[in-house]
Amino acid sequence: MITEEIIAPRVPAPAPTYLNAGHTLRSWLCTLDHKRIGLLYLFTITFFFVIAAVAAALMRWELLTPQPDLVTPDFYNRMFTLHGVLMVWFFLIPSIPTVLGNFILPLMLGARDVAFPRLNLASWYIFVAGGLMALYAIVAGGVDTGWTFYTPYSSTYSNGYVMMMAAGVFVAGFSSIFTGLNFIVTIHQLRAPGLTWFRLPLFVWSLYATSLILVLATPVLAITLLLIGLERLCGVGVFDPKLGGDPLLFQHLFWFYSHPAVYIMILPGMGVVSETIACFSRKRVFGYHVVAIASLAIAALGFLVWGHHMFVSSQSVYAGVVFSLLSFLVSVPSAIKVFNWTATLHRGSISFDTPLLYALGFIGLFTIGGLTGVFLATLPVDVRMHDTYFVIAHFHYVMVGGMVMGYLGGIHYWWPKISGRLYHEWTARVSALIVFIGFNLTFFPQFILGYLGMPRRVHMYAPEFQTLNVLSSAGASILGIGYILPLVYLTWSFFHGPKVSSNPWDATGLEWQTDSPPPEHNFAQIPVVTAEPYNYPPLA
């Protein structure tokens, strides 16, 4: 018997970059390179983001006046459903993991690729397939159930293309599951020699926690959507009380996935913030171990709080009390992270580059969003605010003010690594400021609207709400400009921006030890790690 111990071949340096290793369409569509797959995802999710943003623009335009004078009620209802479905499943959930995670994770670990590259490519194709099905549902006539698909409206009453939309999300869910699986195995098995768990950058910890949720929660969504589809097809009463079913069962199953899903959406953003705060204050993150464990705590506790979406749903009051308690507890690790980031700035050497501006925006807006989440965890306050614009403002603060800013910050931070070039710094800073201002103007008035009682998912409202709605719509226009600008200047910089060295930020981390852009196989020789993470030199 011949025992084969194969050592990784020494790749001759300098190798061409991943960008010019093949120029045909086929070399992109059949690539196994995690970096190219990351870019494929970047194009795809940007496409869905634009469609969903246009739907939001139409909604805010309609809401300029109390009367329904722009679109029909059915059209409006389909717009908010489209906005929710595309933004949640086809933009936010994939965003950082599939774009930045795919690109940066192996580099950060000192690996040549993810554990299962073919599975990675398959994930992208599955994602596209799901997206096409969702698009078909939209174009064929749309769905008006809201992204939450509550029964029996979605299973028995709605006349839209519910099954097709649910099928699209079902298929895209497998893309999530396979990505999460790939990341878990990669992080366990493909770390460079010497890279122990507590030497990992915090971005890796957050991706690990995210992947655990992706893998364990998404299957429950899949089965829930399958049940809705079958109920529509067979006419049985799984969730229809007229046939003996229980509509609340749907809500429990749906939120069992969808609450952990919001942590899928926020954890990677927190990881980006940790990286950028460390780099741009040139200091190790305060309480590194606690922040790492906090990511896992958020993931674990996040599975136990789904009932806080159902306090007024007619679930048992004692269940409500338990879920409220757990929801308060899950807020603690997030609060810890915010304190740790602030403490990191102390005695740092801070430079206000664009990624840091996005990180600071994240911290501020996520804190507001998170605290309003604590408001909603408080039972009687939720009775008052549930299904009003207060909830809409809350989740947009955490998802848009938090996650999207984290995403943009990460894109800017790793842009030199991805493209080998720099964007125009002042344009980027102004753009970040426009996003921040536009965002607050759009969503802060909605807290007040919710407090005053304006319900969600309405195309018309009582006249006394108009002033706040006009403010919100004005903010949305500004926010839109803030999002269009990066599309323009980042694309421009990809082709015409000044080229950079391997480490333009002078940051720690293995991804900065290789060229910008990286060669196809990442490293000429796999690095060996001996230092702690964020080992910036002392500053005094």
């Binding site: 790749v11 878990i184 067979c234 006419g235 009463g237």
Partner: protein, 212 residues
Amino acid sequence: MSRAPSLPSHFSTVEQRSVANHLGLWTFLATEILFFGGLFVCYTVYRIAYPAAFVAGSHHLNFWIGTINTGVLLTSSLFMALADRAVKRDRRTALRWCLLATWLLGAVFLGLKFYEYGEKYHEHLIPGPNFQLNGPWKPQIELFIFLYFTMTGLHAVHMIGGLTALAWLLWQNHRGRLSPEHPAPVEMVGLYWHFVDCVWVFLYPLLYLIIR
């Protein structure tokens, strides 16, 4: 002479790839547990709500086919375990026969299952327009039968996937690519097959054995 495929460049040792494959498959099985778990939750909720309907519904199932199928599937798992043993001892003939036996028993299981489904069709017990039943608890019995079809149907889909994987294994063995140095494909498919068997071990009493 057995030939193991060359190691992809992102793995540095065979050992590393083997551990990665195992971890990947166990993670995948965890997702499957959650997937079936949603259906088990659904079943539990409605069984507690309508115990009489579930008893009545269970009596409409073909106990004998369910029991024989359980035996068939457990035996197929036995052969799968023997196949794993054979590949590690480099016994290609034994490996071929064990894989074939597993595949055949799996096919027998599916054949009996589809026969059962056909029976339900003739008894007018397919949930939906075909469903006809007199007596109390009709909608709830229809719900039970629906859960029966969904749970066993999903299980059958996984069986078909397993049969495909086994066929692929037989072909790999034919090409001489399985060896004690490269037992991973047999191990992986084996793990998956045993898992699918485990799911059935839960489905069988929950569906067929309610108060007998």
